[in-house]
């Protein structure tokens, strides 16, 4: 069957995706250690001199915070590119359009193995993905707000505390802010697992370049995707 390649993801989006991926990986691993330091730091040194010997809490927190700044910069970058280019606004689910609701029905049937994946319409991005990504962006924002609030409250009068400190009483105090930050960290990781699986699944079934699309920017389709308008400038 004849196929056609479509250019979908801008270089900026692809760059952001992978920078973000590595930032989250670093944040999650260091975050788990912060939440429960499962190994001890260097033994046999006076604490005052031990903080810079090998892998210490000090180092792990530093990595978490550096990755946090990267994550924040990435988020701002992601918002800016969405403002300037249409194809970077795919994260907005088009509730007001019929094809979104048809797509939602089709993808539900496909994931429940009732419909075959090659049947029905083609979409540049399926309706589940279109509905879930915006929620994930909100969770990213939540992690930034809670993260920088906790980070900033070591200086309650400072910039970060005045920007994000308001979240702490809303969540019921700083301890609960830590807990929320911790719970949402796990939700993001569970998203990542399912997300990775669904990307691989698409590739295995359709061989449409899904897996490599976040590197190359291209996906391959047999018919024209019904939501193609969304990336036409």
């Amino acid at each position: 069957m004849e196929t056609k390649r479509f250019y979908i993801f801008s270089p900026g989006l692809r760059l952001w995706h992978w920078v973000n991926f590595f930032a989250i990986l670093a944040l999650f691993i260091t975050g788990l250690y912060i939440g429960n330091p499962f190994f001890l730091g260097p033994i046999g040194y006076e604490a005052t001199y031990a903080y810079d010997k090998g892998i210490t809490m000090d180092l792990i927190r530093k990595i978490h915070f550096v990755a946090g700044y990267v994550f924040l910069s990435g988020f701002i970058f992601r918002v800016i590119i969405a403002l300037f280019s249409k194809r970077d606004r795919l994260i907005i689910p088009p509730f007001w359009r019929r094809d979104y609701w048809i797509g939602l029905k089709e993808i539900t049937l496909k994931y429940s193995l009732i419909m075959r994946d090659k049947e029905g319409n083609e979409y540049i991005r399926n309706a589940y993905a279109r509905s879930v990504y915006p929620l994930i962006y909100l969770l990213f924002l939540f992690m930034i707000i809670t993260g920088f609030a906790m980070y900033g409250m070591s200086n309650p009068g400072g910039l970060w505390a005045s920007l994000f400190g308001w979240i702490i009483p809303l969540l019921g105090g700083e301890f609960m802010t830590h807990m929320w930050h911790h719970w949402i960290a796990w939700i993001i990781i569970i998203f990542a697992i399912l997300h990775f699986y669904l990307v691989v699944r698409e590739e295995l079934i359709k061989q449409n370049g899904e897996l490599t699309s976040m590197f190359t920017g291209y996906k391959v389709f047999e018919k024209e995707p019904v939501d193609i308008e969304d990336i036409k400038e």
Binding site: L32, G35, N36, P37, F39, L40, G41, P42, I43, Y45, A47, T48, A50, Y51, K53, I55, T56, M57, D58, I60, Y111, L113, R116, D117, K118, M153, S154, P156, G157, G165, W166, P169, G172, G173, E174, F175, M176, T177, H178, M179, H182, W183, A185, W186, I189, I190, I193, L194, Y197, V200, R201, L204, I205
Partner: protein, 348 residues
């Protein structure tokens, strides 16, 4: 009413004593030495301020702490700085006499007295879970607050609700700011608050005739501006990753950081790390026990006290978030594999 300086003279104390006292309390209030002349001037000119100290649902730990203040001595504060007009726990009079006196004082000093509240009002059953002098404390509190210049919320009870407001809060106990909404309230949380913090707050109110600078939560910045963790002398062990894992292990003997045995220092704002307790002798962490976060909102509901992470707050799940998270992640991965195989078969 007489001023502090006059009281000093009447007690036969010298000018030198007076200046030494002024300097000390300037430090305690967290003010810079350049403020000493202002404090001296205030002490020379300000009359003693009437204080009404009421007790609701509470355990009296705040009073117990207060009377142990060493710099300044609680007795100095009580006898020379304020005029404690009503306190059903400390006063000699009791019963109808003192309740009548309360009403008179409210009228006499209307708009000029300070209301100090220890404990909090329960709202359930129209306040009948706490009755003082035959009336619901809730009513007493509202009545006494009306003519107050400022209100001090002593301890975690008045500030946040504390143990009586812990889930499931059977008496619907609420912090006083839920009941008193039209007066400046100074929250002095802690279970109890540190004695010197209590006297420090009173002195600020009295000497400067103004509410001390408060943070967004209504706590005086000079005493609640730092986390215990950021002032803790064990912090070097935290940064080095040297943690106590059990209370009888080697690390505990060496005085390592108590983070892994549940220390809430990283999320608690109080002065324990710098002012300390018992005239600066020690504080819980110095004694080898983690902070339980007694100055924080809902600290009773943020347990278990001896674990770093609280359990997931879902019914019937008694597990820590890392266990639940790992189980869910494993289930997601396993589900993905199964779904993947089935998808491949279905799409043959």
């Amino acid at each position: 009413m007489e001023t502090f300086w006059e009281t000093f003279k009447r007690h036969g104390l010298s000018r030198r004593d007076f200046l030494r006292f002024s300097t000390t309390i300037t430090g305690i209030m967290g003010l810079s030495p350049s403020m000493i002349p202002k404090v001296v001037q205030a002490l020379e000119t300000k009359p003693r301020v009437p204080v009404l100290w009421v007790h609701g649902l509470e355990c009296t730990c705040c009073s117990e702490s207060f009377i142990r203040s060493a710099t300044p001595l609680a007795s100095d504060v009580l006898l020379t700085m304020i005029s404690l007009e009503y306190d059903d726990t400390l006063s000699a009079a009791a019963g109808e006499a003192i309740e009548k006196h309360r009403e008179e004082v409210i009228k006499k000093y209307w708009g000029n007295y300070i209301l100090a509240v220890e404990g909090n009002p329960p709202l359930g059953e129209e306040g009948m879970y706490c009755v003082v002098g035959g009336k619901a404390f809730l009513e007493n509190l509202k009545e006494t607050a009306k003519g107050a210049k400022a209100v001090i919320a002593w301890g975690s009870c008045a500030s946040w609700g504390c143990v009586q407001a812990a889930k499931p809060n059977p008496t619907t106990a609420v912090p006083i700011h839920k009941v008193i909404t039209d007066k400046p309230i100074i929250k002095v949380p802690g279970c109890p608050p540190i004695a010197e913090v209590m006297t420090g707050v009173i002195m600020h109110l009295v000497l400067f005739d103004s509410v001390p600078p408060l943070d967004s939560q209504g706590r005086p910045k000079q005493f609640y501006g730092n986390r215990i963790h950021d002032t803790c002398y064990r912090r070097a062990f935290f940064n080095a990753g040297q943690f106590v894992e059990r209370f009888d292990d080697d690390g505990a003997k060496k005085g390592w950081c108590l983070y892994k045995v549940g220390c809430r220092g990283p999320t608690t704002y109080n002065s324990c790390g710098n002012i300390r307790w018992y005239n600066g002798l020690s504080y819980p962490i110095q004694a080898g026990h983690g902070c339980i976060g007694c100055a924080e909102e809902d600290f009773w509901d943020s347990g278990p006290f001896y674990e770093r992470l609280t359990n997931i707050p879902l019914p019937n799940v008694e597990a820590n978030p890392d266990k639940v998270g790992a189980a869910l992640a494993a289930a997601a991965a396993a589900g993905a594999v199964v779904h993947g195989v089935l998808s491949k078969i279905r799409n043959k």
